[in-house]
């Protein structure tokens, strides 16, 4: 097989599903669900194959592909064109995110079969488009392509939220669209400025050009670009105070979409910050590292304290996501191997954990039609499995060792304590608060007296167990044997550290 085609296949294979779905009549409910689910398998298989390729000790650069695509005209007629190539490539870091994406997508498709109650055809078509977008942006090797895939994720998500969400779905969808639209707009300006000033958007080349002092870009200019990037990805991450859209999405979107949203889409922010912020503007990143660390701590604590007083479990999880993304920022701000690796771990780990949590919330909501903590309680009796996994997921989320959350959190703190011990110390309050709010919420739902009789309520069963078990296993695997993540990362880490100057 031609390895260069693998990534393109990986990215675009869900489109086949869309075409098949378009042909299927609306009434074929089971076939539609089956196709929707099956179409997520090729990317999964391919991404695992790529991982296997890596494990076999072969180079990931075998997969790189670069084809001329768009040539914008230059400033002068004789000037070379401003070329944007179709470039896909994969590094260890990207590989992890691609695997994460394909795993969570497959599981979310499974979840959708359960949670989505109407118009499966439209749902799965949009869903598969979303999957393509996510896979594309994690493998894109130039910023324009990244941006294109980035925006490709926006539209399906808008519809998925707006059509299949809960009561205030439209508001949430618009909130999502406008905030992310704003973020992507800022990103686009940066990308276009870079293209206009350097003639390329290839990430590797940009890195060299920006680092090259002979290219006439002033330090302030670069700093401005970096801050713009920070804002662009800050919306996505989200960084306080750009977070309010995300709360609405978490509460209003259907569970299978939130699995993707919280599991993958939020991670784009972190990915962008690492890949572009840190990768292209290492010096500027350094300049703002303290600010980033403080922002990270603010995120961590802000999310944690607010999660503590929420009455809706989905809101708790939403604020918890803000809080956990704070750890990502803190890890990055440390600018050492431990911190960055911790941040990347946190990205993957939180992806898995929040996907799991939201799947469980979906199950809960489906059975009890509420996610208000006050309306639940004593669930451990009627739904022991759900309650048990909920507790386990909460434990993973609060950073219990043996699960992925701990390794990430630990490394992030390890990294930050080296450079900014005081900021890190303040941040460590977050570790306590995480336990406080998660236990309050989860125990409030599962322990104690039952608010009402849950006897007739069904526990997790059948296929529902698959996503739960798979995610749980992955969470524990990473927690027990972190090398599954850390070994592919080493090369990426080295490159980043080189950029940061050791």
């Amino acid at each position: 097989m031609n390895l260069h085609a693998v990534l393109s296949l990986l990215v675009f294979s869900p489109l086949v599903g869309i075409i098949v779905l378009a042909i299927l009549p609306k009434s074929q409910e089971i076939a539609i669900k089956a196709v929707g689910f099956l179409a997520t398998l090729p990317p999964l298989a391919l991404s695992l194959a790529v991982y296997a390729h890596y494990l076999a000790g072969k180079s990931l650069s075998d997969f790189s592909v670069s084809v001329p695509w768009i040539q914008f005209r230059g400033l002068q007629p004789d000037e070379p064109a401003y070329a944007v190539n179709y470039e896909l490539a994969i590094s260890g870091f990207q590989l992890l995110l691609v695997v994460l994406t394909s795993v969570v997508s497959t599981l979310a498709a499974l979840g959708a079969c359960r949670f989505i109650k109407k118009e499966w055809k439209g749902y799965f078509m949009l869903f598969l488009l979303l999957v393509t977008g996510m896979l594309g942006l994690f493998t894109a090797e130039n910023m324009v392509l990244f941006f294109i895939f980035f925006e490709v994720t926006l539209i399906p998500t808008f519809f998925l939220i707006g059509k299949w969400g809960y009561f205030e779905k439209e508001k949430a969808a618009f909130s999502f669209l406008i905030y992310n639209g704003f973020g992507s707009a800022v990103l686009l300006i940066v990308i276009m400025i870079l293209l206009a000033k350097t003639g390329t958007t290839n990430i590797v080349m940009l890195k060299e050009i920006i680092a090259d002092p002979s290219v006439g870009l002033s330090a302030d200019f670069k700093l401005g670009l970096f801050i713009a990037l920070l804002i662009a990805f800050g919306v996505k991450l989200p960084i306080f105070p750009l977070h309010s859209w995300m709360l609405r999405v978490h509460v209003q979107a259907p569970p299978s979409v939130v699995m993707i949203h919280s599991g993958i889409l939020l991670k784009i922010g972190a990915y962008g910050l690492i890949r572009f912020g840190m990768g292209i503007f290492p010096d500027q990143f350094k300049q703002l590292a303290v600010l980033l660390a403080i922002l990270g701590v603010i995120n961590l604590l802000y999310g944690a304290f607010l999660a503590f007083i929420q009455t809706d479990f989905k809101m708790v999880l939403a604020y918890s996501s803000i809080s956990h993304m704070g750890i990502v920022l803190m890890g990055l701000a440390a600018m050492n191997e431990a911190g960055i690796q911790g941040a990347i771990f946190q990205v993957v780990s939180h992806g898995l954990i929040s996907a799991l949590l939201f799947f469980l919330v979906g199950v809960l909501y489906e059975r009890t039609e509420t996610s208000l903590i006050g309306n639940l309680g004593g669930l451990a009796k009627g739904m022991p499995l759900t309650a048990g996994f909920l507790l386990a997921a909460a434990m993973a989320s609060l950073g219990l060792p043996g699960m992925s959350g701990f390794v990430s959190e630990f490394m992030a703190f390890l990294g930050l304590f080296k450079v900014e011990p005081w900021i890190a110390a303040v941040g460590s309050i977050g570790i306590i608060m995480t336990a406080v709010y998660l236990l309050r919420a989860v125990l409030g739902m599962t322990f104690g007296k039952a608010f009402r009789d849950f006897d007739g309520v069904l526990d997790l069963r059948g296929l529902e167990l698959v996503p739960v078990l798979v995610l749980m296993l992955l969470i524990v695997l990473i927690g027990v044997y972190p090398s599954v993540l850390s070994s592919p990362l080493q090369a990426t880490l080295e490159t980043i550290m080189l950029g940061l100057g050791g």
Binding site: W69, Q71, Q76, V152, F159, E170, L177, A185, I189, A196
Partner: protein
């Protein structure tokens, strides 16, 4: 000039214009002699064929040298060909819409006029692209405008249509008077109406009084033509006129007429003022000197267009504001004044033509059926006709400038132009992108109606053939040029070297 030499002129370069003109004449006669009861749709179809033939004729000239006749009053250069193709394409699509236009108290009685007036207006627009002389430019402009006035009011018994036409006439006439007044000063300072001659004369301008006068003329021309483009603050007629005019006419105004507006803007401003010196030979040209004024107009246009669109409840009005906003984007490209400008404007106009005409096709179908132009008529379109809904979705996404569509590439092109100019127009680009974000509100507001809201009635649509054609072209084109824009770029770059030709 003797008759022989008159005959020896290379008239063949006017083939497309003659084709259209001839067919118009034939159609007028046909209309006259055709029995009253006969369906006049045929006239529309003949018109379409004529336009397509003219397109072929134009396309066959692509790649040829610059030629001009009648002392440059008619010239064929790459610029003319490129934009003429756009105009003809847009004209053909508008006629497709027109032959499918059957509103309740409609245009049955003047159906034939409806078609050939379109063609007349189109002829005016075509003349503009090929003019190298102020007089012919002005004639072209009026040949475009006057039939447009009639077209806007062609639903004689529809008071909104009348009102729309009246407003259009008044505003259009004022604007052409202002333009003409500006032109008269330019003529006065040069003593010629030939654009290239003017340019060469003005290139050595150094008397500050003359420069001042010329700049005033520049402003007047900009303002006058600003009406045509519907640039703020000269845009206010557009919503009313767009709303009242029959839908194909609205489509025509927003696409063909706007394209023609940009054609004349580029022709006059760039040729004349791009060389008119401010302080003797070699000094900075007036056009560059006034870049900031253009930037302000562009910014105001984008902001006003997008912001006011938020509050609209009428779909045609909304699209009027949307088209104002798009004019703003195009002005950004013009303001940047880079050689890339031709390409970015051309491509954006192409994208805009496709997506806007497609959108108007759907608007026509939906509003005609509902008998109302409220946005809420789109509610539940997804249930009633998934094909229309999805097409509209794609076109709206393109209008909003999301990737995968021609609208995105067009915007990218404009950005690039604004940013790699020295000094870069960062603020303008930022405003443009912020305005784009604001536009998501209303474009996706329509989507909300289409996809999320339940339908008031569940009757299906039957989509006329003309609409199908327009939709097909629009959707396929929007997506194709969004994914493989190089098809268009290469075509332009390899065949039409606009920059080299423009000043020859």
């Amino acid at each position: 000039m003797s008759l022989e030499s008159f005959q020896q002129l290379n008239w063949s370069i006017m083939t497309p214009e003659f084709l259209i003109l001839g067919v118009i004449a034939i159609l007028v006669l046909m209309d006259l002699f055709m029995p009253k009861h006969m369906d006049r749709k045929m006239i529309g179809w003949i018109g379409i064929v004529a336009i397509l033939a003219a397109m072929v004729a134009t396309a066959s000239m692509v790649g040829g040298p610059v030629e001009s006749i009648l002392h440059d009053t008619f010239r064929i250069d790459s610029f003319a060909l490129a934009f003429k193709l756009l105009l003809l394409g847009g004209g053909a699509l508008v006629l497709f819409l027109a032959v499918s236009y059957e509103p309740k108290d409609g245009v049955e009685r003047y159906q034939a006029e409806f078609y050939y007036l379109f063609m007349t207006a189109l002829l005016g627009a075509m003349l503009m692209t090929s003019s190298g002389d102020l007089i012919t430019l002005y004639i072209g402009l009026e040949l475009l405008s006057i039939p447009s006035y009639i077209l806007a009011g062609i639903r004689k018994f529809h008071s909104q249509s009348n009102e729309s036409a009246m407003k259009y006439v008044i505003n259009g006439s004022i604007s052409s008077a202002i333009t003409l007044f500006g032109m008269s000063y330019v003529y006065g300072l040069t003593g010629t109406t030939n654009l290239l001659d003017m340019a060469s004369k003005l290139a050595t301008l150094s008397d500050s009084n003359h420069v001042y006068l010329l700049t005033l003329a520049f402003l007047m021309i900009v303002v006058g033509l600003g009406f045509k483009l519907a640039a703020a603050p000269f845009h206010m007629w557009a919503p009313d006129v767009y709303q009242g005019a029959p839908t194909p006419v609205t489509a025509f105004l927003s696409v063909v007429s706007k394209t023609a507006g940009f054609v004349i803007v580029i022709r006059i401003l760039l040729t004349v003022f791009g060389f008119a010196a401010t302080d003797g030979q070699g000094s900075i040209p007036i056009l560059y000197n006034m870049q900031n004024y253009l930037a302000v107009i562009a910014a105001a246009t984008m902001i006003i267009g997008n912001v006011v669109a938020l509050k609209q409840t009428d779909i045609k009005r909304l699209f009027a504001y949307s088209s104002i906003a798009h004019a703003g984007y195009l002005l950004v490209a013009f303001t940047a004044l880079t050689p890339n400008m031709f390409y970015s404007i051309w491509f954006y106009l192409l994208a805009y033509l496709l997506m806007n005409l497609g959108a108007f096709a759907i608007i026509q179908v939906v509003t005609e059926k509902a008998g109302s132009t409220k946005i809420t008529e789109f509610a539940g379109l997804y249930r009633r006709s998934p094909v229309l809904a999805v097409s509209m979705g794609i076109l709206l996404i393109s209008l909003a400038g999301f990737p995968g569509t021609a609208g995105f590439i067009g915007k990218l092109n404009i950005f690039l132009g604004a940013l790699y100019a020295e000094p870069g127009h960062y603020l303008l680009a930022s405003i443009m992108i912020a305005a784009t974000v604001v536009s998501y509100f209303y474009y996706f507001g329509i989507m909300t109606q289409i996809f999320f809201r339940p339908a008031a009635d569940n009757s299906k649509f039957n989509i006329p053939f003309g609409i199908v054609v327009v939709l097909l072209v629009a959707v396929v084109g929007s997506v194709l040029f969004g994914i493989l824009p190089n098809i268009a770029f290469d075509f332009l770059q390899n065949n039409l070297d606009i920059i080299a030709d423009f000043f020859k």
